[in-house]
Symmetry: C2
Subunit: 214 residues, 2 copies
């Protein structure tokens, strides 16, 4: 996969085609004051990328096919499993104070709460800070009391695209999503097993990697 | 600007050229069991994107020019000023408690501290939480006591690329950077005026926008 930067002439051709389609290569060449031969590489790249479509005996038209949305294609190839990191989990009976200490020890922004391997809740730095400025005794209250509880937790699965994780983070205004596997408990109810997490940090790291072209 | 996804055959051509350069289109065609004419569009796109270089009478070679790092080019066109948001600032005499309330009211993760329009410090949700679990009286201590103070604040300028902001966020393990303008005070010392901020949230939003191809 690679990204190409269109040249000013290629951008100009797209504008002309959008405006005056269908338009032949002769007409384009005359409007741009160049020869048809000079335009050939530009037209080749614009049709190969799917931005323009060449209709035989008619001319070039601007492609409205969704496939020309190539940035989208690129992003859609990066999966949650490519960028997720290890989740930090605690038991719901952990005190709020101990949970905060654990948050610092692991240097994360969100703790996930499990019961017998099943995801039951999540607590963020923001939730903890809200409790900390209240009059609650953090040494007595268990984290299970203050956590956001299932089914109110937004999650992703490992085969979803990383873009969807970023979209959910923005839409639901959370810092971190658990990556889960759906399974069944003894009563055949659907339950979630936590296998990873994707946070704004993972997305920022991904952005840096894309920029480094790794 | 647009992104193209290379076809499996194009990827295969790159591998062959990397391995056996210089290699002619006849040799490539015979290795891939296709006609030269069938390869022409693939070779056109690979040379136009700068991945391969065609040496007349020699053959194709793999381009080591930095210009073929095209993803990099794309990212390098997005500036800090394109993605920054409004910073939330308080005075250094604000109590820690009031600052936390202000943090929640504005729904941000970091407050910046100004003195007469000049950036002097920053406090994050993490810093506040650290104080909150200690024995400090949050109603008495001013935020100026607990803030990270200049010159220990990592910042960016508005004309830097967004990628650099993301890189600084990851390298220095911070959630948010102030966007500053350098100016001179009365004693001709360099000081910083805060004009925006870039956080992991801005980078995540940018990633979503790129995915939506906006």
């Amino acid at each position: 996969m690679c990204i190409i930067k269109l040249s000013p002439r290629q951008e100009k051709i797209i504008e002309l085609v959008k405006d005056q389609a269908p338009i032949t290569s002769e007409q384009l060449a005359s409007k741009l004051n160049v020869t048809r031969a000079a335009l050939r590489p530009d037209l080749a790249i614009l049709t190969m990328t799917g931005i323009l479509e060449a209709k035989p005996k008619v001319g070039y038209i601007y492609s409205r096919k969704p496939s020309h949305s190539l940035v989208y294609d690129y992003i859609m190839n990066i999966k949650v499993s490519d960028i997720m990191s290890k989740p930090v989990v605690v038991d719901e009976n952990t005190t709020v104070y101990d949970a905060i200490v654990y948050l610092f020890l692991n240097d994360v922004g969100t703790l996930f709460i499990e019961n017998k391997g099943i995801l039951i809740g999540a607590v963020s730095r923001k939730d903890f800070l809200k409790v900390a400025i209240g009059s609650t005794d953090m040494h007595k209250i268990p984290v299970g009391i203050i956590m956001t509880r299932m089914p109110n937790i937004i999650f992703v699965e490992k085969d979803e695209v990383a873009y969807m994780a970023a979209k959910k983070i923005m839409e639901h205004e959370v810092d971190s999503l658990p990556v889960v596997e759906k399974c069944r408990d003894k009563l055949n109810n659907e339950v979630l097993k936590i296998i990873g997490k994707v946070s704004k940090t993972n997305i920022t790291r991904l952005f840096v990697k894309i920029g480094e072209n790794k």
